[in-house]
Subunit: 221 residues, 2 copies
DNA sequence: ACTCTTATTCTTGCATACAAGGATGTTGAC
DNA sequence: GTCAACATCCTTGTATGCAAGAATAAGAGT
């Protein structure tokens, strides 16, 4: 209970950032956070240090910590790398997946189908995360799983935006179908290519994203 | 100058880990480090938190921080991911490199040639790092550069070991030649494949690595 | 003699205190 | 009226202190 307070703080603040509760550019006041969480500044600082090391916040010397504002180009770069890592995970999953992985992947795919049919964007968003997590797991590379999970998490806010674009949800789900087939039939390179394309934010899709981001600039808060 | 002490501490400790001054499994005593660096425990702890977030050390609750011991399989996984990222960097470099990048890459390649010819493993080790850094830079993806640099750094100790294997240095340099050619002639996929293979620790090479690691187990300290 | 239990010590976890460097507001001069 | 300089305040950076849990050592019982 009085255990890893700093761990809890890190997760809470990270979550706040990822859910846009702390928007990019916001300053994270140590005393304010300390008061909010009912702890002293010390564990807050330690949590912030961790977030800074991961790259979620920027710690300007003597001037406090701010949530990083990646900028469209940088977000694009992050999606590029994510695409590559996901492709790798898919490739490995195609070669290494077990029966359990197969069951889990199909289950996750099934859940995506339901939320896609119900046109429930929020549920689909969540199920989609589980789907990708299932692929990571099936890669059986613990390090790759960690890397993918971390980056996936960092890209959360932008993926969420993307789902609002046109009928991205239906497109996304239909792409999932091909990916599942490729993985389960062991076609590593096909799985890689499909996943890479699935993630890659390029061409018109990227334009949409930038447009959406630009809109968000003029937010009330 | 007396600025970010914690930043300096982080770098110093990280360097100590990467250079095996702090060996895997070693416990990092806060008071000991504090005394050694002439500071209090607070900045030490904050530095350790950062290293923990990166994954270089493990912070066991109430039981102190220890340098992580990756284990051969995990090291293999890390090399796998590194290979993929390097391949991606090479591919992007082939498509995006500027004249400056070209000059830098050739210069780094030239330095590697000299140290390889001189059979100077230590210098080659350093020049090799610059060579790969030149490729990252030529990819013109700041995020990818950061990811590659971080992982490259984490794999330092093991790459160093690898260089001692057989005539790895000569082989490494000859592979560099093909990579340079592929990048400068814009053959993205060839560059990717060559770099991936260059990094990948597989088959006999991996056996060599494990053997070398096993030897290191019985170290004097 | 060996093991289990208990007490002591040592280290970590968190809070508080103090110093120092930016941010800000006010006042004065042009 | 505006800009600049100075003083004040506010936040961060670091040290220290105290409490609590884990490692360790000592003692008793089998």
């Amino acid at each position: 209970m009085a255990e890893n307070i700093v761990q809890r703080l890190r997760d809470e603040i990270e979550n706040g950032i990822v859910t846009n509760q702390f928007a990019p550019g916001d300053r994270l006041d140590e005393m304010q956070l300390a008061k909010h969480f009912g702890v002293s500044r010390t564990p807050i600082r330690e949590a912030l240090m961790q977030l800074g090391a991961i790259g979620l916040i920027e710690m300007r010397p003597r001037r406090g910590a701010v949530v990083v504002e990646p900028g469209p180009h940088r977000i694009y770069e992050m999606f590029e790398v994510m695409a590559e890592l996901e492709g790798m995970a898919g490739s490995l999953a195609a070669r290494r997946h077990t029966d359990t992985d197969r069951t889990e992947l199909l289950a996750a795919h099934g859940r995506c189908e339901q939320s896609a049919k119900a046109d429930d964007a929020d549920t689909y968003y969540y199920d989609n995360e589980l789907f990708h997590q299932a692929i990571y797991t099936a890669s059986h590379s613990s390090f790759l799983i960690e890397q993918c999970t971390a980056l996936h998490r960092r890209l959360r806010p932008y993926r969420r935006l993307q789902l609002r674009v046109r009928n991205r949800m239906k497109t996304s789900f239909s792409e999932h179908g091909g990916i599942v087939e490729a993985i389960l039939s062991g076609e590593a390179e096909l799985a890689r290519a499909l996943l890479r394309q699935h993630i890659a934010v390029q061409g018109d899709r990227f334009s949409d994203l930038v447009a959406t981001l630009a809109q968000r600039e003029v937010r009330p808060g």
